[in-house]
Structures are given as structure tokens and as C-alpha cells.
């Protein structure tokens, strides 16, 4: 078992509070991803769970047992660091077996566990090498191996892939995911890459400025973001936001183009921020008029940047595009896909 419960976690550095009361439940075996912009407190929160950072207030529990005051070694939690943090003077095998050696396990037992973990991670041929003699991806795997051999209740990852090149990152991403499916260990994973979050997570926690903005399954967050920040952060290319007003039950742009229906609860004349995902815009014979700006084919689909009322609008389409920049086109929004946010509070209305 390895369920983690965070209760009103606060953390201050001197007078500056960087975590403002975080509540979070990570179920046993769940893969939870903490995501958010740089400096939002993801690492701080993760390190608090690890025990590397004290907290100013709140409760951290593992399997309903409060572990606030336990040192890291007594928490049964393993952590993989962003820059691997391997011991340069130890071979791969020694690196992986270090925790077991400290736990005074027998040589043969250490050897067996290290070999088992190395087998899972394809590290067997590298066991006698030193970290300096490994590639970045291999080092990352050793760092994971070091966590695996301990067979902990919880794995913590702090941006483990950010030092790898794009291709390797995609590969390691699926390796970590597979590893999780195989071992079923509760995992908390920090990243600022929303694609990593979307592809890996059972549950995503979006943070900003020391607060949790929203948590839920990847598709929940994608389909029903609670505010402009989450809507803009999740999804790539990002959601389009357009200033709009409600008139006669429809949402219209400043130039009068109709984007879609408005809910009855909104009175005429209310100002809203309309949010539209790029794939929910389609070209049509009628609808809002725009000018084609940029055309970026990526093969499978094409990304168009359109200009409307002086703002840019990004759309993607799987159709082959025969337009050229400067052409005038009409667009429409797929029915039911128009999101509305309060212009003042940025909270989702609909």
C-alpha cells in the first residue's frame, strides 16, 4: 500500500510563503503528475513529501500514518532527481545497491535485487561502469534503478526527463509509464511539460503560484478546465481566448461574428472570455470572417494561424489545406465545444 495524503501543506522561506495550503490525495498505485509553470512550487511540494524539506504547516500522511517528522530514510519513499544525482565514485551496481548496503542487507541479496532491477531497465551490461561512462538516458535509467531496488511505497520524480533530448524524452516517457504499469507503485511525478503530464498521468494536478488550480484526469482537465489558466496550460497548441459579449443568447466577437450559443443564465451584454481549442475550429462557408496568416503543415495535420479582430487564432485541421496567406476564410466552432470564462475572475462559466 502506498497512498499519500497531503493536508493543508504550507511552506515558507523566511517571510515568503511559497506553498499556500495544498490538499492532495494520491491513491495507492496511482500515477499523479504535478504540473505548472516554473517557480510554482512543484519541486518544493515533492521535496516536502520526500522529507528533504520541512513544512511550515499541515500534514503529510502515508497510508494514514502522519510522516511529517520522519526523516527521509524512514519514509519508505524513493526519489529520482532531475540531474540524476548518481554517485560518481561508484559503479552502476554500487549506485543501485547503495541503499541496500546501508540497510545492511547481505551481499547476495543486494546482488540479486540489483540484477533484477537492472534486468527490468536493460542495465545488465552496464553494471560495472561508472556514471561518467554512461549516456544521459542510461544515467537516467540508473537513477530509476536506484529507486526500484528499494521497492518503496512511493516513487517521486522531479522533472526526470528535462535533461534529455526530445526523442529520448519520448522514449523514456513510455518506459517510465510501462515501468509503472509493471510495478504498480504509487508515483508522484513533477514536470512543467504538459504533454508529459497528459500522456503519463492517471491524475494531473495543475499548480500555480503555490496553489492547486485544478486536479483530475487528463481528459477532465482538457474538456472541463475550471479557469483560463488551466485551459491555457493544458493542451498544445494552446486554447484560443477571445474577448466576447453575450447578445440575444449568442456569444459574439467585438466585430459581431457569432461564435456559438450562450447559456440562458448569462444576461445580454455580459462580457466573457471565449475559449476555443484549435481542433474545434473548422472552415465553413459562413461564420466568423478571418484572414489566413500562417500555414504550418506538420504532415498529419496542418496548423493555421488566423487573424480576427486584430487577434490571432490558431486552428488545426486534418484536411489538406489549399489556402495561401492573405486569403479570407470563414470559420465556425464545433457545436458544444465553446467554453466561456468570466472575464474578471477567469473562472469557467460554461
Amino acid at each position: 500500500m502506498g497512498s499519500v495524503t497531503l493536508n493543508n501543506i504550507r511552506k515558507s522561506y523566511g517571510a515568503v510563503e511559497v506553498l499556500h495550503g495544498i490538499d492532495l490525495q494520491v491513491d495507492d498505485g496511482e500515477f499523479t503528475v504535478l504540473v505548472g509553470p516554473s517557480g510554482c512550487g512543484k519541486s518544493t511540494l515533492l521535496r516536502a513529501i520526500a522529507g528533504l524539506e520541512t513544512i511550515s504547516d499541515g500534514q503529510i500522511s502515508l497510508d494514514n500514518e502522519v510522516i511529517n517528522h520522519l526523516p527521509p530514510k524512514r519514509r519508505d519513499i524513493a526519489m529520482v532527481f532531475q540531474n540524476y544525482a548518481l554517485y560518481p565514485h561508484m559503479t552502476v551496481a554500487k549506485n543501485m545497491g547503495f541503499s541496500l548496503r546501508l540497510a545492511k542487507e547481505s551481499k547476495s541479496e543486494i546482488d540479486r535485487k540489483v540484477r533484477a532491477a537492472a534486468g527490468i531497465l536493460d542495465l545488465v551490461p552496464l553494471l560495472q561502469r561508472y556514471p561518467k561512462q554512461l549516456s544521459g538516458g542510461q544515467r537516467q535509467r540508473v537513477a530509476m534503478g536506484r529507486a526500484i531496488v528499494r521497492d518503496p511505497e512511493v516513487f517521486l520524480f522531479d522533472e526526470p526527463l528535462s535533461n534529455l533530448d526530445a526523442k529520448l524524452r519520448v522514449q523514456m516517457r513510455s518506459e517510465i509509464k510501462e515501468l509503472h504499469q509493471r510495478l504498480g507503485t504509487t508515483t508522484v511525478y513533477v514536470t512543467h511539460d504538459q504533454i508529459e503530464a497528459m500522456t503519463m498521468a492517471d491524475k494531473i494536478v495543475v499548480m500555480r503560484g503555490g496553489h492547486v488550480e485544478q486536479m483530475g484526469s487528463p481528459l477532465q482537465l482538457y474538456d472541463r478546465p475550471v479557469n483560463v489558466f488551466v485551459a491555457g496550460f493544458i493542451g498544445s497548441p494552446a486554447m484560443n481566448f477571445i474577448d466576447a459579449t453575450v447578445q440575444n443568447g449568442t456569444v459574439i466577437t467585438p466585430s459581431g461574428a457569432i461564435l456559438g450559443p450562450a447559456p440562458d443564465s448569462l444576461p445580454d451584454g455580459s462580457a466573457v472570455t471565449a475559449g476555443i481549442r484549435p481542433e474545434d475550429i473548422f472552415l465553413s462557408d459562413s461564420g466568423a470572417e478571418t484572414t489566413v496568416g500562417l500555414i504550418e503543415p506538420t504532415g498529419a495535420e496542418t496548423q493555421l494561424t488566423l487573424r480576427m479582430d486584430g487577434a490571432s487564432l490558431v486552428m488545426t485541421t486534418r484536411d489538406r489545406v489549399t489556402l495561401s496567406p492573405g486569403d479570407a476564410v470563414h470559420i465556425r466552432v464545433t457545436e458544444g465545444k465553446l467554453r466561456l470564462f468570466d472575464t474578471q475572475s477567469e473562472a469557467a462559466i460554461w
Binding site: P72, K73, P88, L102, Y130, R146
Partner: protein, 295 residues
Amino acid sequence: MNSSSDRWLAYFMILPVVAAVLAFVIGPTWDVATLSLTQVVMGQERGFGTLGNFRALAADPMFTLVLKNTAIWILGGTVLCVLTGLAVGAFLAIDSKMTTGLRALILLPWVMPDVVTAMAWKWMLHGQVGVIGSTMQSVGLTEQQISFLGDPDLVMWTLVVVLIWRKMPLVALILCAAIRSVPNEQIEASRMDGANAFERFRFVVIPNIAFSLTAVTVISMIWITAEFALPWIMTGGGPANASQIMSTYIYQQSFEFFSWGVASAMSVVNLVMLMVIVALYLYVNRRSWASGAAS
């Protein structure tokens, strides 16, 4: 572009250094080496190519005592210097207001001139008027005032203590800097791996500062071997040669007794010893995990 004229320019540029090394290092060394193989009688050179000086040295009853004292001086001094330096350095590496101030203050013994240090300690350790001995007596630690520099059994170790007081600060600072440069993630990773403070120090910090540690060991060894003013001023090798070490003995033999031959033979022994130390250092540093030790 002419590569051969470039080469000559390069030679020309290093000429002053080469000349200085020849004049001040190679020259005197050559002189001492040849002198050690020359028979000298009454300050007059009589015949080259004899091992007589070395034979005389081996037969000299003082020689074993000097060797033993020198071993205490160099080995004891180095080991204690590095160990206390490591302890103090580890303490100074802790982040706090106090250690920041101490890091600057600790260099004080280092910047004092040898002579001042020696005179001050000699006076403080004096058998009758020394403040250290009289304090120990007045608080009841000893019945009589100890004469630290007058007791043949104590004098060598007393000198070593003063030596450490003088040489340890720089060692501590160098090791402090090395300890502070150990990547924090490694420390944190080892905390996650379950290491306690001692295990972190033993298995993570020490291997990470191994290079600084060997370098500092060798450097202190060389400093200590070359240290002359401190023991000479404090004891002059006494009482009754009880604190005679190589450097003081060489000085005494050459400039008080004018036995140039024996003195130079001993200098050669000294030089060989230093070269062994340096060779050891180079050998240890050759094997490094940082540059692929597995191969």
C-alpha cells in the same frame, strides 16, 4: 605564418623560467648531490666519488634518533594536520553566521610570520614562566609546572601541536571549500537512500573530496618537511637532541659544525624522501574514477 619561428618564440618566452629553475633549483640540487659524494676535510674538498659521507651518516648514532623524530614530525604532523583540518573544515562547511566569520578568522595563525609564532609559543610553553604550564598547574591538572619543551618525551609532540596550530587552518579552508562543492543532490540522494550523517560523510563526501584530500596531504607533507624556523627557534633541536629533525640537523651539521659532507648526504636522503612522497601522490591521482577507472 611560419611554424618554426613560432616554435622559437615559444622557447624564447619560457627561457626566463627555465633559467630561473636551472639557477635556483637544478643548480643547488646538483651542487648538494655532488657535495654528498665528495670527501670534505676541514672545509676543504678532498676527492670526489666516495660514499664515505653516507657511511658516516649511517654510522652516526644521532641518525636513527633524527629519523625517528623526523617520522613523528612529518608523518604524525601530516596525519594530524589533515585529520584536524578535515574535522574543522567539515565544521566550517556548515552554513551559519558563525562559520562565515570563523572562515576568515581561522587564517590568523597562517598569516603570522614563522618567527613570531615560534617565539610566542616558546614563551607560552616555557617551563617556569609559560602561561600554559602555569594555568594547568593552578587549576590542578598537574602538580608541577610541565616544561613542554624541556621534557625529551614531550618535546617532539609539543612541536607537532604547534605545527598543526600553524598549518591546519589552510588545510581546513581548502577542505571546507571542497566539502561545500560536493553536489547537494548527491547528499540528498544519499539521504533518500537512508544514509545517516556519518554515512553521508563517509560514503559521499569523502569520495567526492578525495582529490583535494590527497593533494592537501601531500602539500602538508612537503610544507612540514621543509619547515625549519619553527623547530629551530623553539628548541634548536634540544634538549639534548631530543627534538632534532632532519632540517635542524642538516642546518646544525653544515652551519655550526661545518660537516658539509654529512649534511649534504642527509639533504640527499631528504630529497629522495620528498620525491617518493610526490611520486606517491602522482600515483594515487593517476587512478581516478572521474576519468574512467573501470578500463
